[in-house]
Each structure stands twice: as C-alpha cells, then as structure tokens.
Amino acid sequence: MESLTFRHTTKTPLPGSVPSAITGVVASGNLEILLERVLPTDVCEVAIETPIAGYGDVWEAVVADFVARAQPGGLRISINDGGARPDTVSLRLLQGARLMEA
C-alpha cells in the first residue's frame, strides 16, 4: 500500500455546513471518499491509501486541480482507492464536495 498526503491552502471555505459525507465504493477501478469538515477554513488536506504504487505525481495533479476548482477549505478528505483512473477520482472528489455544500 502507498500512503500519500497533500495539504493545500484555499482562498475560501467550502460553502455549506454538512459535517461529513461519503461517496463511492472500494471496488476495482473505483474508490471511496470520506469528507469531514474538521480543518481551519482555509486548509484542505487529502490523504490517500492506494494499492497501486508509483502514481504519486498523478494523484498530486488530480488533487491540485480539484482544490483549484472546488476551493474545499475546511475539509479533511480521506480516500481508500481500489485502482481508480484519474478521471474517476476527479469526478468523485467533485461529487463529494457537492454533498458537503448542501
């Protein structure tokens, strides 16, 4: 297993007040994402556990793109990966942020 953690500063907090949300399932080519509103409002941390080693730079790029788009300030995001492709990861992250915004 490879563990990766990325910490970003955001310009704004993520809107809404949902304390936590989960989306996706740990299955082949899929992943689950747990989002918790537990950090300072200008910080977002993404922690990943993946059985596919060696793709740290791809994860870094996908997470940076998500943070730039969603501005998920305040969220700790934990990912259990089942070997998802970058586009799936990106969609799930945005889906998770949407669940937290309501």
């Binding site: 297993m1 949902v18 304390p19 936590s20 949300a21 989960i22 989306t23 399932v25 740990v26 299955a27 899929n30 689950e32 747990l34 918790e36 556990e49 993946t50 059985p51 934990s78 259990n80 990966d81 089942g82 889906q95 669940l99 937290m100 309501a102």
Partner: protein, 309 residues
C-alpha cells in the same frame, strides 16, 4: 455517524441491484430516519487487509444502524457487495452480530438484513467463520424474543456461503430476480465436481438453480420483488406482519417441509423438473416471466407459502 451524508435516490425507480448498500438503506426506510452505528468517520476498518496489501473500506463493507420503517423502529444492516464481494471479515461480521445482540435490548419491530455477500472473506477466514456462527446464534435469540428477522436479497454478489446459512435462519426472506441464494457458489461447485456437474458459465443454469424465482417457487423465499427499492420496502413491511412465531411447532413444520422437499424433488436433474412437479404448466416459460405473471404462477403453486422456518 448520524450526520454522514450520501446522495439521495428515488425508491420507485432506482434498481436495488445497481444501488450501493448506503443508497439501499436510505431509500428503503422512512426519509431522514436512518442513524448509523460505527459510521465511516469512526474508521473501524479491517486490521488484517493491510497485511495482504489490500485496500480497506471505512465501514468494512457493511452499514448498520437504526431507522423507522412505516413509523415503526427497525434495526438494519446492509452489506456492500462490491467491496470484496460483500464478504464477512472480523469487523464486518462483528458489526452484524453486535446489531443483532442490540436488538434484544432495543426491541425493534424487526431486524432487516440486506444481504449482498459471497460468504467469508478468505484473508480473515477464521474471524469470518466465527462471525457467521455468532450471527446465526444471535438471530435465533432475537427470533426467540419475538422480533422478526427479515432478509432482503437482490444484490450483485447474491447471498452465498455463510451468508446463505445466515439467510436460512431468518424469519422470512424477500428476493428479486437478480438475487441468488445458495451456499456453494457456481464456481466452487464446478471447481470441486467438474463442469459436467455444474457449468458456472451457463448463466441460465445458475439462475434456474439458485435465482430468486426458483427460491420463491420452492418456498425458500417468501416474497418475490421487482428490482426496485420500493418493491423491497413493500415486501419487508408485508413479511414483518406475517412472520411466523419462533417455537417448536414452527421448527417441526420446517423439518417436515424440508423432508418432504427432498422426497418430492430429490431425483430431479434440473430446476425445470422441480417446477413441473410443483404443477407449473409451462416450466420453460418461468425464467422469462415478468413479476406479475410470475406472482400469478406462484399463487397457483402450493409449496411457495408455508408456516414453517
């Protein structure tokens, strides 16, 4: 935990087969009533899977909690068939057993188990096997306390291995066409006995032998549902109302029912032979029947409903 949010879905249209465990639970019970025990934020994950370099799930593949069903309090467990085939590991099994034991104190209207499992998780098999035995014992205690335990089966992993054994101890079962109930799965039988005995790639054979329609016709399941969450909700409410008393008379009736089943159908080589002996006019037509036509067929067959189990 209670506040963890997941996407909402429409119970009338969403496919039970396609839905995740969380989607099934939320759409099945009264809106907004579900409260999860040991939810994903508590991170009760498998202590064993990292040793095998395998990914874990925050809920170890099972969602447990309390909810209201048509205003009545229920306890509910839902397996996630897509995470490791919904298999029973240590934490997964412990959550189900704990929920069942809690029923003795909380005294809900019923306990609902949404099976979706291939059986025991091989990477933590001893703990999984123990959990199966403990769950069966716990179900007996819950039923003896007068609380019905209802199994709902229609997920992509079916209900196999120890899950099939646990289902056998429930008060009543509802199944959909996509659901399958058995102990040894098709691949297991083929591996041990050869493709001549059971060809696991013959999907029609698999569904004839283990699928929802066959189980319903021979009385192995007590309701047949269309593949929607609303159909399973309707079936669950109906089965709670007509769950049998758990006493010696019920167990004697179950023993007699199973003995007579062996005597009548033990010689049959195919499920269609069983359906013919049950009095189904055109056994070959059963797999293609829609839910309404199938329900009519079931109502003409005497063996599908009984006071046993």
């Amino acid at each position: 935990m209670a506040g963890t949010r997941a996407a909402r879905i429409d119970p009338d249209t969403v496919s039970w087969y396609e839905a995740t465990a969380r989607q099934r639970v939320r759409a099945l019970v009264d809106p907004g009533s579900f409260r999860e025990f040991l939810g994903p934020t508590e991170r009760r994950m498998s202590p064993h899977l990292p040793l095998f370099d395998l990914p874990r799930a925050f809920d170890d593949g099972i969602v447990v909690g309390r909810a209201d069903l048509d205003g009545g309090p229920v306890l509910i467990a839902a397996q996630e068939g897509r995470f490791m085939g919904g298999a029973f590991g240590e934490v997964h099994g412990g959550k189900l057993v704990g929920l069942l034991r809690a029923a003795l104190e909380l005294k809900p209207t019923a306990v609902l188990i949404l099976f979706d499992t291939g059986g025991v998780r091989l990477q933590e098999a001893n703990a999984g096997e123990t959990a199966i035995a403990e769950a069966m014992r716990a179900i007996v205690d819950v039923r003896a306390a007068g609380i019905p335990v209802i199994g709902l089966i229609g997920g992509r992993a079916g209900c196999y291995g120890g899950g099939g054994l646990i289902a056998g101890t429930c008060s009543r079962l509802a199944v959909s066409e996509g659901g399958r109930i058995s102990v040894s799965g098709p691949e297991v039988i083929e591996t041990n006995k050869g493709a001549e005995e059971f060809d696991s790639r013959d999907r029609a054979l698999v569904w004839r032998t283990m699928g929802g329609k066959h189980r319903r016709l021979i009385g192995g399941a007590d309701a047949f549902c269309a593949d929607t969450v609303a159909a399973f909700r309707h079936a669950a409410l109906d089965l709670i109302r007509r769950a049998p008393t758990f006493d010696l008379a019920t167990l004697d009736a179950e023993q007699a029912r199973l003995e007579s089943r062996i005597a009548r159908f033990g010689e049959c080589r195919d499920a269609t032979d069983v359906w013919a002996r049950l009095g189904v006019n055109d056994p070959e037509a059963v797999p293609a029947m829609d839910t309404r036509a199938f329900d009519e067929t079931v109502s003409r067959v005497g063996d599908a409903d009984h006071d046993a189990r």
